[in-house]
């Protein structure tokens, strides 16, 4: 049987890979969104692992709601990227800094 610490180490390595991905792809907003998805995946991993450990289904319920919220978030984020591309003819992140509110 697999010890719980192996699963936890796997999810923490996944989280740090996605965090490093946000640092590495400072210019590419689509890859940043993908790294965000990976980060949510590792958080969901932790919820499921601890739900299994505590013999409680609440962790899986939480994962269900996180998946819902992340789906809505990525839809809105991609819509913002499409609008940015339409206005600036590119998805350079530095173009966002030119917005004046």
């Amino acid at each position: 049987m697999i010890p719980m610490s192996h699963y936890l180490i796997l999810s923490s390595i996944l989280f740090s890979i996605s965090l490093a991905g946000i640092f590495l792809n400072r210019k590419n907003i689509i890859i940043m969104l993908m790294s965000l998805e990976l980060m949510f995946l590792s958080i969901n991993f932790n919820f499921i692992i601890f739900g299994n450990y505590l013999n409680d289904l609440t962790g899986q319920i939480f994962v269900f709601f996180i998946l819902t919220v992340v789906a809505a978030e990525s839809a809105i984020g991609l819509a913002i990227i499409v609008v940015l591309y339409r206005n600036k003819q590119g998805i350079n992140v530095e173009d966002i800094a030119r917005l004046k509110g």
Binding site: P3, S5, F15, L19, I30, L33, M34, Q60, S74
Partner: protein, 200 residues
Amino acid sequence: MNVEIIIFYIFSLLLLSSSIAVVTLNNPVKSAISLVFSFFSSAILWLLLNAEFLSIILILVYVGAVMVLFLFVVMMLDINISQVQEGFVKYLPIGIFVFATIAGLLSYFFYNQFENSDDNIITSIDLIGTDNTKNLGYLLYTEYILAFEIAAIILLLGIISAITLTLKKSATNKYQNPSDQVNVSKKDRLLIIRDEDRIK
């Protein structure tokens, strides 16, 4: 050597290598494909953790809907890769530093905290009852019904905001202006011409 352990190590290696590919490949289409792959391998790992319903949901919703949306957007936009990729080498040391620090600290903590007792082994015994989907549905519709409805509202919000952001007003589109419709008065619509005026 147990089959479960072999499956765990194979798919965790696949998950980690495909997630590294997501953040390092310079073509966004390739990154999206490797993100699909990492979702698949984590769905299999969730099956080992007795979360059958969620692993199927991960494949159906994530790979089937969200990643297709990502691929649509990536292929629709004409991205200048060389411009987007600049700064990768510049930020590589700080990226590796962040990765090493966070991964090292978390792994150290988890290894020390959860290694030494006997009851922290993930078993294949089912959680409560036998049917994961049935239990999740029961909890969702009784205890978490309010959160479930709020999730529905959040999805509606996502639909509305995505449509209003990307909707383009063009001359060929016909749409109503409600404030004009409300503000209309009788004079604008009806012209009264008297008979004697016309004769004159």
